[in-house]
Amino acid sequence: MPLDALGEASDEALLVAYGNGDRAAARALTVRLTPRILGYAARVLADRAEAEDVVQEAMLRLWRIAPDWRQGEAQVTTWLYRVTVNLCTDRLRKSGRAVDLEAVPEPEDGQAAAVEGLIDQDRADALGAALELLPERQRQAVILRHLEGLSNPEIAAVMDIGVEAVESLTARGKRALSRHLAGRRAELGYGDD
């Protein structure tokens, strides 16, 4: 594939080209996709080194599937997010950090204070710490929707659930985040608007 065409080519076209031996296509895909899944993995795992390992493994699986990629069946980004989500889930469960979806009740207002000890840096860190307190599936859905910018149907495909379930997860996740962060907003400079 000509170099000037790489930037305009779809993810799928690049993947097929790589599967046919075009290594420049792999470079274009790496530049395009690695930052996206790193953003997700780093936020879900809250561990940069672990997130990078997950990203490398997810991309490796992408390289391996390239020759067998069935065009038109799925979006490359959806497939890659799905692999990344599953790898992150495996890591969280193996390390005992996973929080079961239904095991944790939504926090009472007074529980916001519990977060304060975890929040010690800036606003992004505050959100990160609050995200860590969410049940696993809520955290995944909120990150994919509000930080990665995926649509609800895309998230449904990534998480292998229905769109209504995505809406429910993100709504409950946001409610929980609001309560966790309620006591921090003024302190973090957002005022009380």
Partner: protein, 115 residues
């Protein structure tokens, strides 16, 4: 004007502070891509080596499977003749004045061996 969700400010901040991959991670990912491509090309090369193609080429040179079947039948017939050694004719039966050995020198010794 609609009221903005207070959480949006946190999301905006987080998106602005998106983790970015360092050169080391990009190099690791690209090295994997090259290694997978190398492995694929090596397998394709091995699959096309002459050593693997030789039996097929020999068969083709002989004329394919039909020719091989004919060759096998001929071999079996030869073996059968060798073991059964049917009775050999001693003359052509057309002209009593001639013996097969007159027409095919060396036949006499074969005939004697069979008789």
């Amino acid at each position: 004007m609609t009221e903005r969700d207070p959480l949006d400010a946190f999301f905006d901040e987080a998106r602005a502070n998106r983790p970015t991959p360092g050169a080391d991670l990009m190099a690791r990912v690209l090295a994997d891509a090259d290694a997978v491509a190398d492995g694929r090309e090596a397998r394709a090369t091995r699959a096309a080596t002459p050593a693997r193609r030789r039996p097929a080429q020999m068969l083709k040179a002989l004329g394919g499977w039909p020719a091989l079947a004919g060759l096998a039948a001929t071999t079996a017939t030869g073996l059968w003749i060798g073991f059964a050694l049917p009775e050999l004719p001693t003359s052509l039966g057309l002209a009593s004045g001639y013996d097969l050995s007159d027409l095919a020198p060396g036949y006499g010794s074969l005939s004697a061996f069979g008789g």
